[in-house]
Amino acid sequence: MGWIQGAADEDDAADSSVGRPNGEVMLIQDFLETSAERLPDKLALVCGGQRLTYAEIELQANRLANALVELGVKRGDRVVIYQNVSVETVVGIFAILKTGAVFVIVNRTTKREKLNHIIGNCGAVGLLTDGEAVAHVLAPTDGGEGDTLKFLVVSSERGSKTSRPSLRLLAYDAIQEAFPASRPTRVAIDLDLACLIYTSGSTGDPKGVMCDHSNVVFVTDSVIEYLQNNEDDVVLSVLPLSYSYGLYQLFMVFRFGGSLALESSFAYPASILQRMQEERVTGFPGVPTIFSVLLHIDLGGFDLSSLRYITNAAAALPPSHIQELRRKFPQATLYSMYGLTETKRTLYLPPEQLDSRPGSVGIAIPGTEVWLEDEQGFRLGPNQIGELVVRGRHVMRGYWGDPEATAARFRPGPMPGERVCYSGDLFRMDEEGYMYFVGRRDDIIKIGGEKVSPKEVENVLYGLAGVVEAAVVGVPDPILGQAIKAVVVVQNPEISKTRILAHCRAHLEDFMIPKYVEFRDQLPKTSSGKIIKREFA
């Protein structure tokens, strides 16, 4: 890729093969290991009040990796990370990769049933978490059939008692004192799985997208190429690491040797802006809800002159917001992008096209191609609406343990043995090949950029005794794009809106909780008994 060649011209030490034995393929942990050798004292991470260099993160990751090996972690094993955005999470990702295992990040706001579902679904052997989670969130039952969990690594002492005595429990701090900082033996090749990223599916249960090292390395470099990142970039991210958009900020920065400031949320915008000023941030990835908040803030008191680029993904920005953002950040280049977890990033709009095509999310990312197909599988030309099909080395490996869903999404491509990804999203293409998002083929709801499966919410509603029927739809919302509306039939009038919402809060992440609840005597159905949702929206 261009940026690597460019860097190598100036400094031979920047050759991307540093740190890897001859003939070795590139793995994700090479992002850290190469930067730790090339730029050991450079600031890599600002997070939770700590400032760490590449060398410091590399040593911590090696110590944790050696502990994981001692705990029995083997090539291909799955290890779940369930903790707040923290240094321990970043170290955990690289430590797991260094053992040849597969990391799975579950957002710390995920509720008990879903966390335990994911642990069971991927057959995790270990969990990196905090004491609070061990005491209150982890399923207390021990060692039943299919229980694969063998150990916990706990990053804070508070409440770190488990009612599962068969689990080995190690403290993160003790590991850092006791284990060697030498790099463990390299065991994986780039076709091995690196991570599972769980995403909402229309069936209701989250599905783990299998990403191998080569997928991640390829798409990381492709995105770096069009964003033209270099070592001087300082990226500030408020996006969760459990989403690919957030996770890749880490991968990209460690790949090009920049600095990353990680914040746990955008809840307090003024604090984020303050941090952007202090760290002289050059790159800020966001989603439409974040930008709509920023547009309401008077930025006059902040010096944000260092900002070189802004990226938007997860949902399209309204053209009026694009204009206002450009007025507000005149020195920054704005990138409109589109992606899905199954291919990470898919499309980006070259910034020079923003004026002439503000509603477009652009063209295929470097090194990949896309086209539109109709329902019969025929390729479509300009100005027709069809499903976006994606071809390239960023097409992930499928869904963990779900060959049926995998076969539906990842289908044979033009070359023998290859697979392309059917996105499930409908687009229109203009005469010059630029894509415009039209809608989804399934009924997934997008709340401020987060995907919500109506089925997942309906399943929770049916879990409340007395709810007879439930239907969940998306309705337009001025701030979040869409909001969730639940229409329910209940057996007795004691089931109030508050009771329903309390139940949802106990079982669903906040963004999945319905904003509106409507009670009906019955729901309209087709002759085959399927609920007709059209009229609720």
């Binding site: 710390r108 706001t109 949320s265 307090y268 915008p269 003024a270 809800t289 309401h296």
Partner: protein, 89 residues
């Protein structure tokens, strides 16, 4: 009703959907302890504006002013008293 109790009641009924009231201390961190997310902070801001008749500058939506019942109550008192409560460092 005392300001703190009023805030507790709003949080319990509209954000936590609790039938047992606000079961936390008035110093509990709303965001860090997972009671609310960033959308919840936005809702809280709109509630403060509409209920107490004060204009909340988005730059005042900081942990120092918003992140617990006690902090929010003293922010509202300062605003109603007409003091400059902007806390930016």
């Amino acid at each position: 009703m005392e300001l703190e109790s009023q805030l507790q009641q709003y949080l319990a009924e509209n954000i936590l959907f609790s039938e047992n009231g606000f079961e936390y201390s008035n110093d509990t961190s709303l965001v860090h302890d997972g009671l609310i997310d960033s959308t919840g902070v936005l809702e809280l801001m709109l509630y403060v504006e509409s209920t107490f008749g004060i204009k909340v500058d988005p730059l005042e939506v900081t942990p120092e002013n918003f992140d617990s019942v006690n902090k929010l109550a003293s922010y509202i008192r300062r605003k109603k008293g007409g003091l400059d409560s902007r806390s930016r460092r």
